[in-house]
């Protein structure tokens, strides 16, 4: 059951254009900032929104086009909502049996199937509980069991780990990967976190302002981000401009010099650890030096992360000792520099 989607959804204020092909068994991550069109994409795939142009075809069956709209209940999808939306008046078992019951399975068999799915997600003991008696992680597992129990052709997950604490999210992530690997249809996972993207997905699609701006394996996307959002997620500084012979001229008027000769529109990415901060203009190499002001200072692992508002917005990781020496606080003037050899540049 492969997915061929190539559609446009127009909503008041924004337009989402998506072109996406996924093979059966593939786990595709949708990543991007709020308002990028991730939820719109999921809702259109699920049939909760009509498309204005183009088509959605799953396993050779046309689900959406300008003139066709197979209603959500006639599509074979499993949808895991961000806040799980378990029916509060039904037990966990009946929540999971809801899908099979809806597609005509007899009550007894539906319950048996639900029991089986609760077992597979190792939550059998929750069967008789009400949703309000569940922790966030438990509720999310029930929601996953409920989506899978109706045996869908495609699985859609909206930020499955967003409502969980760090350790809960990691445990769910690992379990989710296992189940999505075993799932035979296409899975689409909307995510806000780099970890979800790295652990769960086979392939990432980056959305920005309603358009797909990048696609590739999680490793490829993380190494060469093309949006500020992804760069921030993977913890990189990203600048964009026009390169000629290894110098990227930025729109802001400054330049970034890199080690590799390249020409045309390009991105430059460098890690916050490669950025050094100085109280005065550094002597020696005048290249890749910017003057700006500190906007925030926060702990980041063993280091201190400093946000600098210069001609390009920068993140710098410095040692606590350096922080003490520089006496930084929001508003402090600062010089920042990065070595050309630490900058990776690639074509836009």
């Amino acid at each position: 059951m492969s997915l061929h989607a190539d559609f446009v959804v127009r909503r008041p204020g924004h337009t989402t254009t998506v072109e996406l092909i996924a093979e059966a068994g593939e786990v595709v991550g949708l990543i991007g900032p709020n308002g990028a069109g991730k939820s719109t994409t999921l809702r259109a795939l699920a049939g909760l929104l009509p498309v204005d142009e183009g088509t959605i075809t799953v396993g050779g069956v046309l689900w959406s086009s300008r003139d066709t709209h197979v209603p959500a209940n006639e599509r074979s999808v499993g949808f895991v909502f961000q806040d799980h939306l378990l029916f509060p008046h039904l037990s966990v078992l009946d929540n999971v049996a809801f899908g099979p019951r809806s597609v005509g399975v007899h009550r007894k068999q539906a319950r048996a199937r639900a029991t089986d799915w609760l077992d597979r997600l190792s939550i059998s003991e929750l069967a008789q509980r009400r949703p309000r008696e569940l922790s966030g992680g438990q509720a999310q597992r029930v929601a996953i069991a409920r989506a899978l129990a109706r045996d869908p052709a495609m699985l859609l997950l909206d930020e499955p780990t967003a409502s969980l604490d760090a350790s809960g999210a990691m445990a769910l992530r690992t379990q989710l990967r296992e189940h999505l690997r075993a799932f035979e249809g296409v899975s689409i996972v909307v995510t806000h976190t780099a970890l979800d993207a790295m652990v769960i997905t086979d392939r990432l699609v980056v959305l920005d302002q309603g358009e797909i701006v990048q696609g590739g394996t999680p490793a490829e996307v993380a190494a060469r981000p093309r949006t500020q959002h992804v760069a921030a997620l993977v913890g990189l500084n990203l600048v964009r401009g026009k390169a000629s012979d290894g110098v990227i001229q930025l729109d802001a008027g400054t330049a970034v010099v890199a080690g590799e000769p390249i020409s045309g529109p390009a991105f430059a990415a460098f890690s916050p650890g490669a950025v050094s901060l100085f109280g005065e203009r550094p002597a020696g190499s005048p290249r890749n030096v910017w003057h700006g002001r500190v906007t925030s200072v926060s702990p980041h692992g063993d280091a201190v992360r400093v946000q600098v508002d210069a001609a390009v917005p920068l993140l710098a990781d410095i040692t606590p000792a350096a922080l003490a020496t520089l006496d930084l606080r929001p508003g402090s003037p600062i010089w920042a520099s990065v070595k050309a050899t630490e900058v990776s540049i690639y074509r836009d």
Binding site: L48, N73, F79, F87, G99, S102, A147, R150
Partner: protein, 270 residues
């Protein structure tokens, strides 16, 4: 909340407090007066007289029927108002609310114009089926339904709106048709609101007088409900009988208020 606002903002001004007390007393004194005046000694006799028994039985019968009709037809109307978008929805809502503010006696006249033997629909009912509605038990039920239905529709629509519409989306992605979603998700989630609406509309139907007496008349045993019996007793000089039946209605009203407050109203306010 109240305690902190009293503490931080000082005492309530005397003028406001006095006016508020007057309002409260004005509402409470008449009820107290009826309790004081009640013929406690002859109460059992007054309530078991043939007239009173007939009126009680008839009221119970007709109000249960009209409440059932309100639920059966009102819940779908409330669902349409809450869950679908169509042109003129606000007009429909205004029309639904109209009987709420219409004087009941006007409602009775209107029903007569519609379903009377010469009425808009009644003429046709008469010639096609030989059915005449006015001054029958059916007319009592119709009058009660006419005045009570808005209460049910408004409160159930509120309940549908208050329950998260995305549960409907979740049900749809699980393969449930809209009807099945309504039955298995929307309805159970709105159940407290539906019960509250049903109790409210039952209480309204029980107290209905103006529309009933205009459209259904005042025939002992078939259309003389409790409020009408109270009025008849009162005019006929049987004050004890009128007050005794009034007590029953007061007890019912207090019971309705108490049950709504404890079980449903506080739940809705949370």
């Amino acid at each position: 909340m109240t305690r902190t606002s009293l503490a931080t903002r000082g005492r309530a001004p005397l003028g406001l407090t006095v006016a508020a007390l007057v309002a409260l007393l004005f509402l409470v004194i008449p009820v107290v007066a009826i309790l004081v005046r009640a013929p406690w000694a002859s109460l059992v006799d007054d309530l078991t007289s043939a007239d009173a028994r007939d009126a009680l039985r008839l009221s119970l019968q007709t109000t249960l029927l009209s409440t059932a009709l309100c639920i059966f037809f009102g819940v779908p109307l409330a669902w349409l108002l809450a869950r679908t978008a169509f042109r003129g929805r606000s007009l429909v809502r205004a029309l639904v609310t109209l009987p709420l503010v219409l004087p009941p006696v006007v409602g009775g006249i209107a029903l007569l114009m519609a379903f009377g033997r010469d009425g808009l629909v009644g003429k046709w009912l008469d010639s096609a089926f030989g059915v005449t509605l006015p001054f029958t038990l059916a007319a009592v039920v119709m009058a009660q339904t006419f005045v009570a239905l808005p209460f049910l529709v408004i409160s159930v629509e509120g309940a549908f709106r208050a329950s998260d519409e995305r549960y409907d989306d979740a049900a749809a992605t699980l393969g449930a048709t809209r009807w099945s979603t309504f039955r298995r998700v929307t309805l159970p989630l709105a159940l407290p609101g539906i019960v509250a609406g049903a109790v409210l509309s039952w209480a309204r139907a029980l107290g209905e007088f103006g529309a009933t007496v205009t459209f259904a008349g005042n025939f002992p045993g078939t259309t003389r409900t409790m409020p009408t019996q109270i009025y008849v007793s009162f005019l006929g000089g049987n004050l004890d009988g009128a007050v005794a039946l009034s007590l029953v209605l007061i007890v019912v009203a207090v019971f309705v208020l108490a049950s709504l407050r404890e079980r449903w109203l506080s739940g809705a306010a949370r």
